[in-house]
Symmetry: C2
DNA sequence: CAGTATCCATTTCGATACTG
DNA sequence: CAGTATCGAAATGGATACTG
């Protein structure tokens, strides 16, 4: 946290916030992650040592509190941390509008499914258990197939077959589904183009787009 | 500009924006600076090589355009760059509320006067020329005295005696005036406490607080 | 689960001087 | 005015393995 040597509040704030990964950790905390390994899933490319370091920096700066209950550790944003919401929001809106080029390295099936599985329209699911399977033919086999198991009171994301029968199977390019999630393309467009294939009983197939909510930034209007 | 390997728009935006100095350069551009050495005055601790590099990064990213007219070079924000305004705004508001500790290294008379001289309430000045002198007894002599010369159509900041007779002389601790500028303390408070001394004819002395506008963030409400 | 420890390649950037 | 050139010190952080 090198200083800029400026009294300007923008400079003082950025001394803290422009450190690599910091705002992404804050984003995860704002999204509701509260435990170390939960945060790690939101920033999978960050080493645990670095995450630990950033959390301590955030604590020193008074943005995060740390509570222990037995050996369970919980991180919570303070009011100062919660007030970063408008910043994360405006950064995300800006990024949505102006940084539209995604490299192949930006695509990540785990992260995509992690995001999607915690943004399902639960009320739209039928009673009982619903199993969705996602297959990405263009991804190395180890990360190519994912299951989301939805029951009344929980949603599980699995990278190994949970053993239940699959209700709806989605086969799609990783980029296509990522772009749908981001709101760059419409679900029915990639469906019609054949880039995304849905299998299963017709009523469930038709329900799928109502189950899947999009990123919080998907609705941001794009530049004309 | 290392990638985060995430498709999240916050991550994609921060790949660009979390590079050291970048948002301060943008802040200067948003404030209206358009030329290289003008920008340098707003980020005095940044080396010219690094400023040049950041400007090129911003150009590549499509946030800044560069025009040459003869050998006069002008940098202008594109629409994408202009739309960083809400980000700079929210970062500044947050910094104003939550990063209130200023180290001595954050104080800078040149930067303070540079900011103040371009935020004067020009309409409140008398006709003709008005000369303000600021003296900081706690600053090394080379940077301890500054003059602001206000005429109908321009405002000059000088670090050497411009030779005109001084209308209002201000003597103050650097920290006190900085905190007034930031809105952390009130002008009349530091005046009454004797931390700031004003000399000159009574009408001009009384007019001084109306001439000096405060930082754009001074009015941000502080946490209760 | 919640982190530490270690290690080094790579990057970054600050300082200073210089140029067309 | 608008930058380049150079250089070395510092730090950053990625990878990997390990621990209570």
């Amino acid at each position: 946290m090198r200083s800029y040597g400026q009294f300007c509040p923008v400079a003082k704030a950025m001394e803290l916030l422009d450190e690599r990964w910091t705002l992404l950790v804050v984003r995860e905390l704002l999204m509701g992650s509260r435990h170390f390994n939960e945060l790690r899933r939101g920033v999978p490319r960050m080493s645990p040592a670095l995450l630990s370091k950033r959390l301590r920096t955030l604590m020193r700066a008074g943005l995060v509190d740390r509570f222990t209950d037995g050996n369970r550790v919980t991180y919570v944003l303070t009011p100062a941390g919660e007030e970063l919401h408008p910043i994360v929001e405006s950064v995300g809106r800006w990024g949505t509008r102006w940084i539209t080029q995604l490299g192949d390295a930006d695509l990540d099936p785990h992260l995509l499914l992690w995001d999607m599985h915690r943004n399902l329209e639960l009320a739209a699911f039928p009673d009982g258990r619903t199993v969705l399977r996602f297959t990405f033919p263009d991804v190395p086999p180890a990360a190519a197939t994912w299951w989301i198991v939805v029951t009344r009171d929980e949603v599980d994301l699995c990278d190994t077959d949970p053993g239940h029968s699959v209700d709806v199977a989605v086969t799609t390019g990783l980029r296509a589904l990522t772009e749908v999630w981001r709101g760059d393309r419409r679900f029915d467009e990639v469906l019609r183009s054949g880039e995304l294939l849905v299998e299963g009983p017709a009523p469930l197939r038709r329900a799928l787009p109502r189950w899947l909510k999009l990123s919080a930034f998907a609705a941001v209007p794009r530049p004309v």
